[in-house]
Symmetry: C2
Subunit: 381 residues, 2 copies
């Protein structure tokens, strides 16, 4: 008897809208999307889930959403607007995602209805996970509120929570149905959060697009002065490169395709070693500096290019060294590589730089050269 | 500023192998698959999760698997072979899927490693869910051990567990990497389980393939006498139609495409009303009878065709009526339709029959005609 062979493709589409004051009554972008999604004649339901870090600052946000839906009514707004704590803590305790599931069940959110989530990257990860596993996936709308989530994680296809102390252990690949990047959420960001997300733009420019890197060099001063149009263009270009990478490769990482993880092996370890006091973007900046120096030491990158990269990171206000990198370095950095290897599923693949704008993959790293890179960063920090 | 539009397709492939005595040392089907999957030079890990309902009967199964891997060694067998209770109970309590997650974490099963699950449909649902949410999906191999899971659910793309008393509330769409339909597991099935799964074959033949229906009529006696080749061919043809339906439509039901749910609205309710004492296939047989009579009453199906369908169901040993159908019928059946509407996301879509071999969708059902159909079935039962 022959075997039966199954093959099919699942198509995914979503749009990332750039806007300001998303729920101002005169802004129709959100209402038009919800109204026209799927079958326009079919009445939809929508549940909002909000990051408390946002509602603490924008105390009128809940009222604005209610008012917006009274004005436009593109869908039946659930009578409850759920507000939960954001940040990494919301991924650690199952009670938070269970609370999202409780609310979407209680308000009859089915596979043709929406959960709209407003918050930072960790919060979107958590609520996105709840939406993805309920009814095998309800429609999820992301409204990211940080630079990092607007230019990187919020436009991607992943969600996750931590489990038994293991970061991102539970999760799925589940694209959103739409993303709304609202600049006005960024205005209230503190200095560190404003800067932190730019590290992902530096990263993607280094492995993908030299013209974007040059543009980042030329706009660094304006960025530091919180120039709005520069920040928006940075997010747009970074998000675009990130999305192209997803679409052109293996979006759900079913094979051995690598995510955009230049600078990330050391960053992951550093976040952990600092007990998450270092923000992700800050750790990535150090990881970029480290892997750039290493790329030079193995002959892939010129000294001039390393200087150029470190100059840009410093100009943007990033530290390029952290004391934790040099403490117990043999154990910590070797463990960092091993954990990254496990994370990848057994075979180590590290993206380094061949030149500015072009990444290259290697499958091993030499500890002595890593150590030499760390020492160099400590000297010039 | 323009929006960014994302579009990509995710390809899925898997093969359903038909075999016997899968872990007999001379049977290379399983070893060859594992060895050649993905990168053949890459050493993989595999964790087995077994339905206690099977190991209670096949007491040597664990030893056979260990012996098989000593013989062939296509992957590193996890030192633990996990045995958990099967049946609907395993989907009710989160401790069971958490136990699968615990084991796959403990044994280092990553996204390039396998969880192989041996069991009935509910057990595969539960373990498949655990595999799908761990590391955003580890490779899952299904080895279904019942007629129903070999010809229907086991070759499909879904997993699920129950949550807070709601059936299949949590789950994902996650195709397996392979399915092994081993006939020898069917030999120990009792009368009711042998028969029960055949209802899905009758169902799919009625809405898709008249020649398969005719074949089922011609082989019913042999099937009742537990003819092996007839059972294998039935499973092959039913699985094939089911897989074609998935691949030709909207595999992950992202739009409003309907699953193969002829006869299922009443079946779901009946299972619940009988406190799951009626097996799924037995309930589906009654649901098929009900919706066939109803299809006739609204003028879609001739009386001769209804007789022919009911004759086949009876010949196969199915009851076509259950007293629970007639109790509180107004409330129960109306609720049944409403629950099915909710399950579909607001718009009711019921598949009925236009003729034998051809389904037709309707968006409402008339209670008086349902009642008339129930009365008719009670009379001729």
């Amino acid at each position: 008897m022959q075997s039966l062979k199954q093959h099919f493709q699942v198509p995914y589409s979503y749009e990332v809208f750039f806007t300001e004051r998303l729920f101002a009554p005169e802004n129709r972008v959100f209402a038009d999307f919800v109204q026209n999604f799927g079958n326009p004649s079919f009445r939809k339901k929508i549940l909002f889930v909000l990051d408390k870090g946002i509602t603490d600052i924008q105390t009128e946000l809940t009222a604005e959403i209610v008012n917006y839906f009274q004005h436009h009514s593109p869908a039946d707004l659930a009578p409850e607007i759920l507000v939960l704590p954001g940040g990494e803590v919301c991924k650690n305790d199952p009670r938070f995602y269970e609370e999202v599931i409780r609310a979407l069940d209680e308000h009859g959110i089915d596979r043709h209805s929406f959960v709209a989530c407003i918050g930072g990257g960790a919060f979107l990860d958590m609520a996105g996970y709840a939406a993805a596993i309920s009814h095998r996936g309800v429609k999820f709308i992301r409204i990211p509120t940080t630079v990092l989530s607007q230019n990187d994680s919020g436009v991607g296809v992943k969600n996750s929570v931590n489990y038994l102390g293991k970061k991102n252990f539970l999760g799925t690949f589940a694209p959103p149905v739409a993303v709304f990047n609202d600049y006005s959420f960024l205005e209230s960001l503190g200095e560190r959060d404003w800067r932190s997300g730019i590290a992902e733009a530096v990263k993607v420019s280094l492995i993908k697009d030299i013209s974007f890197f040059t543009w980042l060099e030329s706009t660094a001063d304006a960025m530091n002065q919180r120039d709005k149009s520069v920040m928006i263009e940075q997010i747009y270009r970074c998000a675009s490169l990130h999305m192209q990478h997803i679409a052109s490769g293996d979006p759900f990482e079913l094979g051995s395709a690598r995510p955009l993880d230049f600078g990330h092996w050391a960053a992951h370890k550093l976040e952990y070693l600092s007990d998450f006091k270092i923000r992700h973007g800050e750790a990535v900046a150090i990881g970029i500096a480290l892997d750039s120096v290493y790329s030079h030491l193995i002959g892939h990158l010129t000294k001039e290019d390393v200087d150029r990269i470190i100059h840009l990171l410093k100009k943007l206000g990033f530290a390029i060294f952290h004391p934790a990198l040099a403490e117990n370095d043999k154990i910590n950095l070797t463990n960092g590589l091993n954990e990254f290897r496990e994370h990848l599923g057994g075979q180590l693949t590290i993206t380094l730089l061949e030149q500015v704008g072009k990444g290259v993959e290697v499958h091993e790293m030499d500890f002595d050269l890593i150590k030499k890179s760390v020492d160099y960063l400590e000297q010039i920090a």
